[in-house]
Amino acid sequence: MSRILRLLVLGGGTILVLFPFVFMISTSLKPQSEVFSASLTLIPAHWGALENYTKAITRIPMGRILINGVIVCATIVVFQIVFALPAAYALAKLRFRGREVLFALVLLGLLVPIHAISIPLYAAARVLGLLNTLAVLIVPFTLSVFAIFLFRQFIKAIPDNLILAARSDGLSEAAIVWRIILPNAWPAASAFAIFSVVAHWNDLYWPLIAISKTHLATPPLGLLFFRAAEAGDDYGALMAATVIITAPLVLFFLFAQRLFIEGMTMTGLKG
């Protein structure tokens, strides 16, 4: 009895949560007249899919925008791990002068989001001629103090004996980071990678500031350009664009659900 009640609540919630996705797909298939006809039917009487999706990929350079998103997110996450892991190892396992200062800066960094320092970063990018390049979307995020913080906690739990053994085998400290620490910290690294990709795939604030050319847009900014180019209420085409732009990360999630949920849980609780 209580199970039936529970399933009713969870099922009702499922309908509410999926409601936007269902209408997004349904509306992307409808011709404009049916969108305006104010009916709740999900299956279109006439198909507008071809027209809507053609508009979605021709009004803005959709392929280019998705590739921009992939390039930016992938490059950011690689740089973040390459810079964070050695620093995190040093903070976790080495005793050195300046360690407390460095760690204090990491904690400061956890507090200061990009939004708060975007003005000087914008000014610097302008002086360096980096505005309207893919580089400007990447450089400010190559440093992730959150990654340093997360990896440091994880590396602290790796036994010292493992590191001492590697040292007595003649491994350099850099070799220890990449050949001993990285494989052992892999759960933290993959969790962080998921977190980072979700965050930067979604980010609108910095791209909106630094990019004004459509062909350099990331997916969120590209959709804003699409909305600006699409005057009026052409929701069919807009929904087609949202389907295309939402699909990559959602499909990735559906194929790797455990990785996503465990990754977001680990980074969420440590954040």
Binding site: R3, R6, L10, G13, V17, L18, F19, P20, F21, F23, T27, V35, F36, A38, F83, P86, A87, Y89, A90, L94, F96, G98, R99, L102, L105, V106, G109, L111, P113, H115, A116, I117, I119, L121, L143, V145, I148, A174, V177, V198, N202, L204, Y205, I209, P220, L223, R227, M239, A241, T242, I245, T246, L249, V250, F253, F260, I261, G268, L269, G271
Partner: protein, 299 residues
């Protein structure tokens, strides 16, 4: 005086550490420390982009903010948005997590369904919500009219716009809070429930009150803090759907910082707002730490 072997070893370790952390420390200086100092310095001036001369205003920039109606409005709107989104997404996330935890068969399915909005591009889903909330042909109002209610002007009325944005915010944040609570629930020692039952705890509510809620304390605190901070940072839905309108009713903190800095190019004012923003985040973290210190720690 020759250095002792211990000093020599320490020097070697320091050198090795800085070879590893040096590049990262340099990046930290360039991308974090200097920009933060620059924002702080700019916040004491009347700097404008393109204007060559800068006057030092000292704290006047901040006292000006106190009488700035746009900024005060943005603080009020943000506070209201947070007050709507954070409690609802925390409590609903907890409720969902408990229902899913108790479920045997469909656990993975429900978990993935509720998590889906977290991985869906927020700008795109905001556009979908805009269609759902369209006053004349949006499905939500069609449903309301079918059920005999009047349609609601969701995003177009200054009375409703924050609530409408909050609805989208709750929908987005729910799944994230749920998985954090699920992790917290899994970590609770099962024997505690058995012990509670031996002590005469029978009803589900009493089990929740005596075991689940106290054991979840640290998780709840974390989830609440994250929810509040994320809600304070609301920007994407505002930029996509309302641009702060109608009649400034959905101008939030990040939206006005963006407008001042990058549309009106009032760098001094925008910097002072950014400093207030950082101070607000610091304040939230101090509260979190205080509460954490006061709380009894289990496990």
């Amino acid at each position: 005086m020759t250095p002792s072997p211990r000093d020599a070893a320490a020097a070697i370790e320091t050198r090795a550490a800085w070879r590893l952390a040096g590049p990262t420390a340099l990046l930290m200086l360039l991308l974090l420390v200097l920009p933060t100092l620059a924002v702080l310095a700019l916040s004491f001036t009347d700097a404008e982009l393109g204007a060559p001369d800068i006057t030092f205003l000292g704290l006047d920039a901040y006292t000006d903010l106190l009488s700035d109606r746009t900024f005060k409005g943005a603080l009020r709107n943000t506070a209201l948005y947070v007050a709507l989104v954070a409690p609802a997404s925390v409590l609903l996330g907890l409720g969902l997590a408990m229902l899913i935890e108790a479920e045997v068969g469909g656990r993975a399915f429900f978990r993935s369904v509720y998590f889906l909005p977290v991985v869906s591009l927020i700008v795109a889903m905001a556009s979908v919500w805009q269609y759902l909330m369209h006053p004349s042909f949006g499905p939500i109002n069609l449903l309301l009219r079918m059920l005999g209610f009047a349609g609601v002007n969701w995003l177009g009325s200054s009375d409703n716009v924050l609530a409408a944005l909050a609805l989208i915010g709750i929908w987005q944040a729910l799944g994230f809070n749920m998985v954090l609570f699920l992790a917290g629930l899994t970590a609770i020692d099962r024997t505690l429930y058995a012990a509670a039952e031996m002590d005469g705890v029978r009803s589900a509510w009493d089990r929740f009150r005596t075991v689940t809620w106290p054991m979840l304390g640290p998780t709840t605190l974390f989830v609440t803090t994250i929810s509040v901070i994320n809600a304070v940072k609301v920007f994407e839905t505002v930029a996509t759907l309302t641009q702060g309108g109608p009649a400034k009713a959905s101008e939030t903190l990040l939206w006005v910082i963006y407008q001042e800095g990058f549309v009106y190019l009032h760098i001094g004012t925008a910097s002072a707002m950014a400093v207030v923003f950082i101070a607000l985040l610091l304040f939230l973290l101090v509260i979190q730490t205080r509460v954490l210190d006061k709380q009894v720690h289990y496990g």
